[in-house]
C-alpha cells in the first residue's frame, strides 16, 4: 500500500512544459568517475537509457545536453520524481517534460567512508546528500563532488551536473564549491 507522493506546489521558476527540447549547446561532460568499469548487468546500478529499454529515454537525451529534467502531471499540478509515465494520483499518462533548476541547497549530507558497493570501492570516501532544488518542491538525492565531506555544510549551494558514466551512458550528480 503505497500512497502517492505529496502534492507539489506550482512554482514560477519552473520552466514551462515543452514538447521537444530546444537545441542547446552540448557542454563538455566532466571526466568519468575514478574507478568505473563495466559491471555485469545485475551488479550495475545505473539505469538503461535507450529507447528500446525505457519509456523515459528523453531524460537521458536531455541530460546529455546538460539539462536535468523530469515529468509533471499538468492535471494534478504534480512535479514527479523520478521521471515516470503515469501520474500516481490521477493515473493520467499525459505527462509533460519539464526542466529542473540547475542549483540547489544541501538539506542533509553524509559520506561513505567504508562499505561501498562493487565498483565504487575506489571512490571512497565519497559524499552524498539531499538537495533542495532552487524554487521547486523537489529534494533530490545524489552524489556530491567538489569538496571533501568534512568541508560541506547544510544550506550550502550546489550545482547539478551531468557526467559520463564511462560506457557511453550519462548520469547526474551535484558539485559543491563552484
Amino acid at each position: 500500500m503505497s500512497a502517492p507522493p505529496r502534492p507539489r506546489r506550482p512554482s514560477a521558476e519552473l520552466v514551462p512544459p515543452v514538447a521537444e527540447p530546444p537545441a542547446a549547446p552540448a557542454p563538455a561532460p566532466p571526466a568519468p568517475p575514478r574507478s568505473y568499469e563495466k559491471r555485469p548487468f545485475l551488479l550495475d546500478f545505473f539505469p538503461l537509457e535507450s529507447e528500446k529499454d525505457t519509456r523515459i529515454a528523453r531524460f537521458f537525451v536531455r541530460l546529455r545536453e546538460g539539462r536535468l529534467s523530469t515529468t509533471r502531471c499538468a492535471r494534478d499540478d504534480l512535479l514527479l520524481w523520478p521521471p515516470r509515465t503515469a501520474c500516481p494520483k490521477c493515473h493520467s499518462e499525459e505527462l509533460v517534460w519539464v526542466d529542473l533548476p540547475s542549483t540547489g541547497r544541501l538539506y542533509a549530507f553524509s559520506a561513505v567512508l567504508a562499505g561501498a558497493p562493487l565498483g565504487m570501492e575506489g571512490e571512497v570516501p565519497f559524499s552524498v546528500g539531499l538537495v533542495d532544488l532552487e524554487g521547486v518542491p523537489l529534494r533530490l538525492f545524489g552524489r556530491v563532488e567538489g569538496k571533501p565531506w568534512n568541508a560541506l555544510a547544510v544550506g550550502e549551494v550546489v550545482h547539478v551536473e551531468a557526467y559520463e558514466v564511462g560506457d557511453g551512458r550519462v548520469f547526474y550528480r551535484f558539485r559543491a564549491g563552484s
Binding site: 500512497a3 545505473f46 542533509a108 562499505g115 561501498a116 565504487m120 538525492f141
Partner: protein
C-alpha cells in the same frame, strides 16, 4: 479483534554472526532447533510455512526459497507455503501473513521462519545487494546504502533537536550490554563502553561503526496457532492483539521529514488501536535499531517521549530494565546483528520468552503483559508494528 485469536507459542533461533554455514544449512539448523525447543510440535501438524527472506537471490544465488526452507526443516505444508519479502521487515511479514492466515481460518498451525545469509566472499557484492533495497537506478548509482541515509537522519536530528553523539552511543551501549545476556547475539561477550563507542571509526558521518547494525548470518523460527490449540504447546502463549503497517514513499526524493517518521505513527496507531491499548501500556518493546538514530526517532514517533526528546530518553535510561519500559532486551539489531529476514522473527521470539520469563534477569521486563514489535524497512519508508499480550485467555 475480529477473527480467530492467534497465539505465538514458541520458537527457536540459531547463533547469529559470521557463520560457517550456507543459506540452506541455516534453515536446516533452525528447523532442528525449533523441534527441540517446542517439543510438542509435530511436523505433520504444521499446515503452513511462511519464509521471511530478503535477498536470497543476491546473497545465496537462490530463488524459490520457500520449498527449499520446507525441505531443510522437514516440513510438508499442505495449505500455504510462501516467501515474504519486505527487506529488513521480511521476518515480521512472515509472522503477519501467518497471523492473517490463521485468523481467517485458512491455517491452524503455521511456522514463520526467517533466514538470511549475508557473509559472502565478496563484501562489495553484499554492499551492492544492500544498495538495491533503495530505488536502484535512481538512488543506487550515487552509492546509496543504509548507512549514509540514516546518517542524514542523524545529522538532521542533531541540527533540529540538538541530539548528540553521546546520546547515540547510549543506545548502542544499552543494546550491546543486553546482547551480552544473549548467547545467540553476534556481539555476545563483547563489551562496548560509551567511550569506546565514541572512538570507533566513522562509517557514514556522524555515524560510527558502533552506531550501525552489522551484516549477519542468522535464522529464527516461531510457531503460531489458532486459539483452540495454544495450550497444547505452551502455558505462556503470546497473543497477537494488533498489527499495523504504513508506507509512504520509495525514492529518497519523496521522503518527507527525515526526523518525523509519520509512517511509524500511522502503523503504531493502527496496531495499538486494534489492541485497544496506549503506548504507555507497553512493558517491553523490540524496535528496529538498525542504527542508533533509528531507536531515538522511534522513541519519539511511537509517542514514548516528545519530538526531539529521544536522545535524552536514551541517555536517561528510560528504555532500561527499571525504566519506562524495556527496549530491545534481546540486544537489538546493534547487538545481535541484522540478518534481514531473521530479525523480525527473533524479535517476536524474544517477546515470547519475556512473557514466559525465560530470559536472564538482567534483561527481563518485570511481569510484562503488553509488548510491541517494530520493524522498519529500506530507508524507513515502510513501518510494520505488532502488539502482543501475555498469558490469559484467548
Amino acid at each position: 479483534m475480529s477473527g480467530r485469536a492467534v497465539a505465538l507459542v514458541g520458537g527457536a533461533s540459531v547463533p547469529f554472526g559470521v557463520r560457517a554455514a550456507t543459506w540452506a544449512e541455516l534453515a536446516q539448523e533452525v528447523g532442528a532447533a525449533l523441534f527441540r525447543e517446542v517439543p510438542e510440535l509435530r511436523g505433520e501438524d504444521v499446515d503452513s510455512l511462511f519464509v521471511g527472506a530478503a535477498e536470497p537471490e543476491r546473497f545465496a544465488f537462490q530463488s524459490h526459497v520457500a520449498p527449499l526452507a520446507a525441505e531443510q526443516m522437514g516440513l510438508r505444508p499442505t495449505r500455504i507455503l510462501q516467501r515474504t519479502e519486505l527487506a529488513c521487515a521480511s521476518g515480521q511479514s512472515a509472522i503477519r501473513s501467518a497471523y492473517a492466515a490463521i485468523a481467517a481460518g485458512l491455517s491452524d498451525v503455521a511456522v514463520a521462519v526467517g533466514v538470511e545469509k549475508m557473509y559472502i566472499p565478496s563484501m562489495a557484492e553484499a554492499n551492492t545487494a544492500m544498495g538495491c533495497v533503495m530505488d536502484r537506478p535512481w538512488d543506487g548509482p550515487h552509492g546509496a546504502t543504509a548507512p549514509p541515509f540514516f546518517a542524514m537522519v542523524a545529522q538532521r536530528h542533531m541540527l533540529e533537536h540538538g541530539t548528540t553523539e553521546e546520546q547515540l552511543a547510549a543506545v548502542s551501549e544499552k543494546n550491546h550490554r543486553f546482547a551480552n545476556t544473549n548467547p545467540h547475539a553476534q556481539f555476545y561477550e563483547k563489551t562496548f563502553s560509551r567511550d569506546k563507542l565514541l572512538r570507533l571509526p566513522l562509517v557514514a558521518p556522524p555515524l560510527r561503526l558502533g552506531d550501525c547494525s552489522s551484516m549477519t548470518d542468522g535464522a529464527a523460527a516461531v510457531v503460531l496457532v489458532g486459539e483452540e490449540r495454544a495450550r497444547r504447546y505452551t502455558d505462556a502463549p503470546a497473543w497477537i492483539r494488533g498489527t499495523g503497517q504504513y508506507s509512504d514513499f520509495h525514492n529518497l526524493a519523496n521522503a518527507g521529514s527525515l526526523t518525523d517518521w509519520v509512517g511509524l505513527k500511522h502503523a503504531a496507531r493502527e496496531a495499538l488501536g486494534r489492541a485497544r491499548i496506549a503506548i504507555g501500556d507497553v512493558d517491553v518493546a523490540e524496535v528496529h535499531d538498525c542504527f542508533t538514530i533509528s531507536e531515538i526517532v522511534e522513541y519519539e514517533s511511537l509517542g514514548l517521549c516528545p519530538e526531539g526528546a529521544g536522545g535524552a530518553f536514551a541517555a536517561d535510561g528510560r528504555g532500561e530494565v527499571g525504566g519506562d519500559l524495556v527496549v530491545n532486551p534481546r540486544g537489538g539489531l546493534l547487538g545481535c546483528g541484522h540478518p534481514l529476514g531473521a530479525t523480525g522473527i527473533a524479535q517476536a521470539l524474544e517477546i515470547y520468552r519475556q512473557f514466559a520469563h525465560e530470559v536472564p534477569a538482567a534483561r527481563q521486563a518485570p511481569d510484562p503483559e503488553w509488548a510491541l514489535v517494530h520493524n522498519l524497512s529500506g530507508s524507513a519508508n515502510v513501518h510494520s508494528v505488532m502488539v502482543y499480550q501475555a498469558g490469559g485467555a484467548a
